[in-house]
Symmetry: C2
Subunit: 243 residues, 2 copies
DNA sequence: TTTCTAAAATTGGTCTGACCAGCTGGCCAA
DNA sequence: TTGGCCAGCTGGTCAGACCAATTTTAGAAA
C-alpha cells in the first residue's frame, strides 16, 4: 500500500480539531454571511466531498448538526437546502426551552413578559417602516375577520412586527421561537370552538388597534399596558374554552 | 418490471422518518428523563450499534447533533459523555441568540428584562428553601469580598437562585444561558480594573441584600425595583471601565 | 408538434468494513 | 516499587456499496 500522499501542497492552513467541525464553521459562515440564502440548494454531498477534499462521512456529519438546528433541510432525491430564516435554530431553542415543560404556564408567562416588553420598546424605537408594517397586519386582520386561519396569520405577524420594531434582535428571536408554540396552542383551542373564533377576532382586532395607537404615539407605558391587557384577556378567553 | 412487493407485512409499527432521528429522540429522552446524568459515559458507538440494531453511521449521525448542541461530549479514546447540564444547549442558543449580534446592548437589555421579572416572581413564589439558598450566596459573597473570583461565583449563584425561586423553568433557562455571556463580559471588565473590584463588591453586596430583603418580604414590586437598580448601576459601572 | 409515460440518473439515508490517532490499563523489565 | 512499553479500547475519517425517493431524460403515443 503506497499511501504516501506527498501532494503539491507546501504548507497548508492549520486544520481544525476535526474535519467536520471545520466544515460546519465554513457552512455556517456562508449562511450567516448571506452567500447561501434561504431556499438555496447546496451542492450534492458527493460534490461537497470533492470540493472540500474530504470523505462523505465528514460532509454528512457536518450537515447533520446544521440540519438538526434548522439551518439546513435535507430532501432525499432532491438535495440539501438552506432553510427559511424563521425556522433557523427553532428546533434547538424549542428543545432547550420547551423540551420538557410540565405545563403551559411557564410558556404563557414568559411570553407575556417578552411581548409586553417588546411593546414597550417598540413605542420608543419603532421606525416609520416598522409602523407601516404593523399597520399592514392590522388591515390584514380587518379584511379577514371571517377567515380564522388568515386572521391568525396576520395576528401572529402583528406581534412579530412589534418584536421587530423593538429593535432588539435577541428579544425578536425569543418571541419568534415562543410564538410557534403559542400559535399551536391557539390553533387547538380555536378548533374546539370555531363558533367563537369570530367574536374573538373582533375583540382581538380592537385590542391590537389600541396597542398600535400607543406605539404610534410613542407612549411606551401605554403600549405595555395595552399589550398586557390584550394578552391577559386573550389567554383567559382561550383557557376558558377547554373548561 | 412487476415489482410486486406484497410482503408479509400486516401492520408495522410506525417508523420515524429517519433512523438517526429516532436515535436522537431516544437519547434526548434518556437525558431529559434523567436516566443519563451529566458525566455519565455512554456505551461505545460500536455497542450502541448492536443495541439499537443499526449501523455505526446512524449512531454517529445521531450523536453529532447532540454533541453540537452540547448535550454530549465526545472524547477520542475515552468515550462519549453526557455534558454538564449548564453547558447543554449553550452552543446552539449562543448561535441562535448571540451568534451575530452587533453589540452587547441587546444582551444587556434582555438580561435586564429577564432578571427584573425573575425578582418580581421570586418575591411572590419563593419557598423557604429558595430563600435559604439565596441567603447562602449572600453569606458567600460577604465572606469573599476580597476574592474577586469567588465573589463573582457567589454573585452569579445569587442571580441563579432568584431565577430558580421564580418557579418558571423557562425563565430560569433563559437566564442560565444569558448569564454565561454576561459573566464573560463582567470578567473581562474586572480584569481591566482589578483595583475597583473590591469597591464594586461592596456596592454589589449591599444591593443584593436589598433585593433579598424585598423577596423575603414578599414585596414583588420592591424586588423588581431593587433588581432594576442593581443591574442598572452594575452595568453602568462596568461600562465606565472601558471608557 | 405536444403529451404522457417509463426508464435512467441523481440525491440523501444507511450499512459495512477498514484505518488512524489518541487514551487506558496492564504487563514486564529494571 | 517504579518506569516504560504495548495491546486494545475509543471516537474520527474514509471508501464503496445499496436503498428509496425524486428529478431528469428519452422515447412512445397522441
Amino acid at each position: 500500500m503506497s499511501e504516501n500522499v506527498l501532494q503539491d501542497d507546501p504548507f497548508r492552513q492549520i486544520e481544525r480539531a476535526t474535519v467536520s467541525d471545520a466544515i460546519v464553521d465554513q457552512l455556517r459562515a456562508l449562511i450567516a454571511g448571506g452567500t447561501l440564502k434561504p431556499g438555496d440548494r447546496l451542492p450534492s454531498e458527493r460534490d461537497l466531498c470533492k470540493r472540500f477534499g474530504v470523505g462523505r462521512t465528514s460532509v454528512r456529519e457536518a450537515l447533520k448538526p446544521l440540519i438538526a438546528m434548522g439551518l439546513l433541510e435535507g430532501r432525499v432525491g432532491s438535495g440539501t437546502f438552506v432553510a427559511a430564516e424563521s425556522g433557523q435554530f427553532q428546533k434547538p431553542l424549542q428543545w432547550g426551552l420547551l423540551g420538557d415543560l410540565q405545563s403551559q404556564d411557564d410558556l404563557v408567562e414568559t411570553r407575556h413578559m417578552l411581548e409586553t416588553n417588546a411593546a414597550f420598546w417598540a413605542a420608543l424605537r419603532a421606525e416609520p417602516e416598522n409602523l407601516a408594517a404593523i399597520e399592514a397586519t392590522l388591515q390584514g386582520m380587518a379584511a379577514n375577520l371571517t377567515n380564522p386561519d388568515e386572521f391568525q396569520e396576520f395576528d401572529a405577524n402583528f406581534h412579530f412586527e412589534i418584536a421587530r420594531a423593538a429593535q432588539n434582535k435577541m428579544l425578536y428571536r425569543l418571541i419568534n421561537v415562543i410564538r410557534g408554540q403559542i400559535q399551536t396552542w391557539i390553533g387547538e383551542r380555536l378548533t374546539l370552538a370555531p363558533d367563537q373564533a369570530q367574536s374573538f377576532a373582533h375583540t382581538s382586532l380592537a385590542q391590537h388597534r389600541q396597542i398600535f395607537a400607543a406605539i404610534q404615539a410613542g407612549d411606551s407605558d401605554a403600549a405595555r399596558a395595552a399589550m398586557d391587557h390584550h394578552i391577559q384577556t386573550a389567554t383567559a378567553d382561550l383557557r376558558r374554552i377547554t373548561k
